[in-house]
Amino acid sequence: MSAKRRSDGAGLGSAKALLGLAPVLIVLVIFFAGPLVVNVSESLRQPNGAVGFGQYLRILTDSYYLTVIGQTLVFGVVLTLVTAILGYPFGYAIARARGSVKSILIFAIVAPLLINVVVRSFGWMVILGGNGALNAGLAALGFSKLELIYNWTGVSIAMVHVLLPFMALSVASTLETLDLRLEEAAGVLGASPLRTFWAITFPLSLEGLVTGSILVFCLSIGSFVTVLLLGKTSTMILPLLIYQQLTVSSDWPFAAAMGVVLLVLVSMVLWSQSFLRPRWMRI
C-alpha cells in the first residue's frame, strides 16, 4: 500500500514523518550539501578572479587529464571485478561456516582494515619490493625476480587486499538470508550442485554482489595513499592529482574542479549500474 493511497493522510507525506526526518536532513544539509556547494563555488574561481568554467575546460581539453580520468575509471572497474571474483568464494565460505570457523574467517578478511593505510602500504613495499620477502624467496628457489612494485600490479594487489572484506561480507550477508531449503529442493529434483549454484544460489546472491561492487568501486576511485606509495608517476589517478594540487601547488580551484569531475563520474557509474540489476530488483 503506497503512502499516497492512504486516506487518513498519514504516511511519508505527513508532518510527523517529516519531523522525524528533520535531524538527518539538517545533518545532510550542513555536512554534505554545504561543503559540496562550497566546493563547486571554489571550482568556478579563475586565476584572474572571474567566475567561470575555466578550471573545467583545463581538465576536459587536456589529453593528459582525460587519460588520468580514464585510468581512474578503469582502475575502479578492474578492482571491482577482481574483488568480485576473489571475494565471492570467501563470502560463500563465511555464510556457510559456523561457530569459531566463521569468526576466524571474518577476522582474517577484516584484519587489513585494522591497520592504518600508510603502515599497510609500507608492509607491502617490504613484501613486494625488488629485495623484498617475495623476491628473496623466489631467488632462493632459483626463479627470476618479479616486478611487483611501482606499477599497477603492486598497487592493485595492495588495494584488493584491503577491499576484499567489503565484497566478501556483502556477499556473505546476502547468502546468509538464503533459505537452504531452496538448494535442498533443487537437489531433490535432480539438479547437480553446480546447476543448483548457477540456477538458484547465484541469482539470489546478486544483491550482495552489487552492494559489494558499489562499495569497492567508490572506495577504490577515492583512495590515493596506496597509489602514491606503491605506484609511480605513470600510475596516476584523479584523487592523487587532487591531493597534489591541495598540498604542493595549493591550486584550490583546480582541485575543486577535479573533485567535482570525480563526483560526477562516480554518480554516473552508480546510476548506470542500476540498469545492470534484474528487473525484479529495481526499486
Binding site: 593528459y64 619490493g129 606509495l229 608517476t233 597534489q244 595549493s250
Partner: protein, 341 residues
C-alpha cells in the same frame, strides 16, 4: 523583577568593558602550531618555558600540517584559531601576500636583528626561518667508492648508469620537489628545461622518485638503492643508529633547504610577538637545534661540538627567490606529471 533586571543590566554594563579590556591586554593562552613528533617535543621543551616565564601566558601546542593550518586561518581571519603558525615556504609566502600575517620588525621582535636576510627576505619579513634541513647525498660506502662531488655529477652519472638502477631522489611532486627542480636548474644556468631533460635522462636508473622521506628511507634501508638525495638530519640520524656503512654529505656548490618558518597571524594577541622573540633567541634556538639535530637561523647560536658536526652551516644553503619562482611551481608539477610518465 524590575530590580533584578536593572541590577543585572548594570552589572553586565560594568563587566563588558572590563572583559574587553582584559582581552585586549592579555589572553590567558596563545595557540601555537607545530609539526608533530620531535618538533612538537622540542617546542614544548625549549620554546614554551621561555615564553611562559616571560609573560605568564600559557601555550596551547597544536600539531598538524601546513595546508591544514592555512585553511583554518583563512576560514576565520578576524579571530584566528592559531596565533603563531609554522607554515611551509609556499604557504608562508601566500599567507603573507594575502594579508593573513603580521610583518615582523625589530621593534616588535628584538632578536630579529640577529637573523640573516636570507632567512626572511624571500617572505618579505612576514615569516622567518626557525630551523632548516638541507638536502644532501646519502650513499652506501661499501658499494660506491667515489660519490659525485656536485649535483651536476650526481644527475649526469645517474643518467650514464654509473650507479646502476639503484638511485633515488625526490619527486617533483613532493612538498619540496619544485625547489629540488629549481636547484637543478641552477646547475644549468637557470634553465628549467635543461633540469627536466636531465632528470628525464636519469629516470631510467631511478628505482622510484620518493614522495615522502619515510618512503625514501625504506628504499635505502632495504638496499633497493645505493645512493639517494635525502635530508641531512634524517640521514645523520640513520647513520647514528648503527649504520656506519652509510655516508652523507652536501654536494657542491650548495643546496636547498626545507625550512620550518614561524609567523604571527594577523589579529592574534600582541603577546604572541614575545613567543617569536623567544623562538629567535640564541639560547632557545641552541636548545632546539640540539633536540632536533637540525641547523637553526640565528648565527649567534652555540651548540656542543658533536652536535655542530652534524649540522649543515647556513652558508651552504640557498633559498629560491620565492616571489619570482613560486608562480612557476604549479606548472612544473603539471609538467612533471606529464613528462615523467
Amino acid at each position: 523583577m524590575k530590580r533584578i533586571v536593572a541590577s543585572a543590566t548594570a552589572l553586565a554594563m560594568l563587566a563588558a568593558p572590563v572583559g574587553a579590556w582584559g582581552q585586549a591586554k592579555k589572553p590567558d593562552k596563545i595557540v601555537v602550531a607545530a609539526y608533530g613528533g620531535i618538533w612538537a617535543d622540542s617546542v614544548k621543551k625549549n620554546f614554551v618555558p621561555c615564553f611562559e616565564k616571560k609573560t605568564g601566558v600559557k601555550v596551547d601546542v597544536v600539531t598538524g600540517e601546513s595546508a591544514d593550518w592555512l585553511a583554518r586561518i583563512r576560514a576565520n581571519p578576524a579571530n584566528p584559531p592559531i596565533d603563531v603558525v609554522s607554515l611551509a615556504e609556499a604557504d608562508s609566502l601566500r599567507a603573507g601576500q594575502d594579508g593573513l600575517l603580521d610583518k615582523i620588525t625589530v621593534e616588535k621582535v628584538p632578536n630579529f636583528a640577529d637573523i640573516p636576510a636570507q632567512f626572511h627576505k624571500p617572505w618579505n619579513d612576514f615569516s622567518v626561518v626557525l630551523n632548516f634541513g638541507a638536502l644532501g647525498i646519502m650513499y652506501n660506502k661499501d658499494v660506491i667508492k667515489d660519490p659525485p662531488a656536485s649535483w651536476k655529477e650526481f644527475i649526469e652519472n645517474t643518467a650514464a648508469g654509473k650507479y646502476g638502477k639503484r638511485v633515488s631522489m625526490p619527486a617533483g611532486t613532493y612538498t619540496w620537489g619544485p625547489e629540488f627542480l629549481w636547484m637543478l636548474s641552477q646547475q644549468y644556468g637557470g634553465s628549467i628545461d635543461q633540469a627536466f631533460a636531465k632528470v628525464k635522462a636519469a629516470s631510467a636508473n631511478v628505482v622510484k622518485f620518493w614522495s615522502t622521506p619515510v618512503e625514501a628511507l625504506n628504499l635505502y634501508g632495504t638496499k633497493e638503492v645505493d645512493i639517494m638525495a635525502y635530508w641531512d638530519g634524517r640521514a645523520v640520524n640513520f647513520i647514528d643508529k648503527g649504520n656506519p656503512w652509510t655516508g652523507f654529505y652536501i654536494p657542491k656548490p650548495n643546496t636547498i633547504a626545507g625550512s620550518v618558518l614561524v609567523s604571527k597571524v594577523k589579529n592574534a594577541p600582541d603577546v604572541a610577538w614575545e613567543y617569536i622573540n623567544c623562538a629567535m633567541s640564541p639560547e632557545v634556538q641552541a636548545g632546539h637545534s640540539s633536540s632536533i639535530l637540525y641547523s637553526v637561523s640565528n648565527p649567534k647560536v652555540v651548540v656542543a661540538d658533536d652536535v655542530k658536526a652534524k649540522l649543515t652551516p647556513a652558508s651552504e644553503v640557498v633559498f629560491p627567490p620565492y616571489a619570482e619562482v613560486f608562480p612557476e611551481f604549479s606548472k612544473w608539477i603539471e609538467r612533471w606529471n606529464k613528462e615523467m610518465r
